[in-house]
Amino acid sequence: MAAFGNYHQVAFAGWSVYWRLPVASGGGLEVWWADFQGHRVLWRGSQPFALVPYHGLSPTYKDGLDARCGGAPFTALKHTTPNSWAQAPGPDAASVDTDAVVVKNEPADDFNPAKLIISAKFQCGWYQYVHSWEFSSDGVITPRVAMGGHLHPSKSGVAHVHHMYFRIDLDIDGQFPRDVCEVFNHNNFNQPGGDQWTVIATQGKQLHDPDKARKWRVRNTISKNDAGQFKGYEIELPREAGRDQFSTGDIWVTIYRGDGFQQGENVGSNCTDKELETNYANGPLHPANGDDIVLWMVVRAHHEPRNLGEEADHLPYHYEEFAIVPRSFVNARAASHR
């Protein structure tokens, strides 16, 4: 059996999920075919690359898949590697994918639902990245990414932003019938009518607006739950840092064009994300019959280093996350039995 690149199936908390660590991409952990209670939710999810601009405007790394601008691919580490200077190549490099990935089945307790958690850590220059995907028994998916390792050795006091890009290919209740993507705005407190969902009619870049509680949804065009509501999953994207000249959007709505293409390659020729808008999220959508929607999204963290204090020895793992939340996907009866 190949050391990397195979699909490994795990199941817990009402979920069946496959995970995979490819070699050639350098894009880290991928999750595939995530099914909840017997229904397909996700074809594939990954956090293939990050853009990391520093104050002073140099450097601006593109890390992960198709690394550029001084950035580095994500190299799988043994999961036991300490949060320190890792030797990869060397004793800390995972020699097989199962050395890197940890699957944890977390039972429900008095405060939280049961969770299936798939995690792996990667070397990237002096940094370590952790990719972690949580699948909860209430149907929620929480992709998480952490930064650890060490500060830039010659810019240890220089602040920078981690723009971490996720590619999410939702297939709500299967690849067919097709899905549409909608954007939500809380416009005012009118009742009814203060909140509004709008179908997105063309591929393109979307901007967040926390003042409007903005979120996005991928929903099926045909498939409904027992109450007659379209099945869907929402994207709730917290904002702890803003857009800038390197990372110009929050969500990009595009379509599936293959699994060996448009995974983050060809992005970053100027150390920016402009190609997501010009090359990827470009073309019409079909609101009536739906499309095979693929979303790109950014999770951000502005890192003001504590280089003379808490981060002098190493960076404690700092996690950022977002949520992919079911709406009308689960029937009320099934939901009450979780």
């Binding site: 690149g5 199941a11 909840f36 550029r68 190299t75 200077w85 010659s154 699994d259 060809n266 280089n307």
Partner: protein, 189 residues
């Protein structure tokens, strides 16, 4: 009890089963045969990986295919050969605008080449050194296969200092860039 796996995934199980050694060998042989005469003298074949693509129409089965990447050092290009489970070539072409991640073997080779450079050897002598790869590429085109290496030395109880950034051209087998970092300014105690 609710079964978590969907019917769609159950139908895919044979197509997504782990790649067998026999399949790997066959895929490499087929790719090499297919590219015979097109490759330069120096190339590297990446470990074959399964490639599962969504079916184009409702009711169609997911097909098992195997992708073989060949990085041609001499030409500065990467070719992907996509092969079905019986060894038939489905598609082949140069991959534009994507550079595959460095393999461990390539990083070790780059370190070996850099280590033979007297300036690097002198710099790291007697120090506890951490070496990590980076991509020096900025432009969209792939170009020559070059591996950057950061040399970092531990300094004192905490912290570290960047000694140098070097770039190794794998095709040429030589160091093409050496940038020594200025000595760090010691903090006032």
């Amino acid at each position: 009890m609710l079964v978590p796996m969907s019917d769609a995934t159950k139908k895919m199980i044979p197509a997504i089963a782990p790649l067998k050694k026999k399949e790997e060998r066959l895929a490499v042989e087929v790719a090499q045969r297919h590219l015979k005469g097109e490759l330069s003298e120096r190339y590297r074949i990446f470990p074959p990986e399964l490639r599962i693509v969504k079916p184009g129409r409702q009711g169609a089965q997911v097909q098992r295919s195997i992708a073989v990447l060949v990085v041609d050092y001499g030409k500065g290009s990467t070719t992907e050969v996509l092969i079905d489970s019986r060894g038939k070539v489905l598609r082949s072409g140069v991959v534009e605008g994507f550079e595959p991640a460095f393999l461990i073997e390539e990083i070790l080779e780059a370190r070996h080449i850099a280590g033979g450079e007297p300036r690097v050897a002198k710099l790291v002598k007697g120090k506890r050194v951490f070496v990590s790869p980076f991509s020096p590429r900025h432009e969209a085109a792939q170009g020559r296969r070059q591996i950057g290496l950061h040399y970092v030395a531990a300094r004192g109880r905490y912290g570290a200092s960047l000694l140098a950034d070097v770039v190794v051209d794998i095709a040429e087998g030589k160091l093409v860039q050496f940038e020594e970092s200025p000595a760090p300014v010691e903090r006032e105690s």
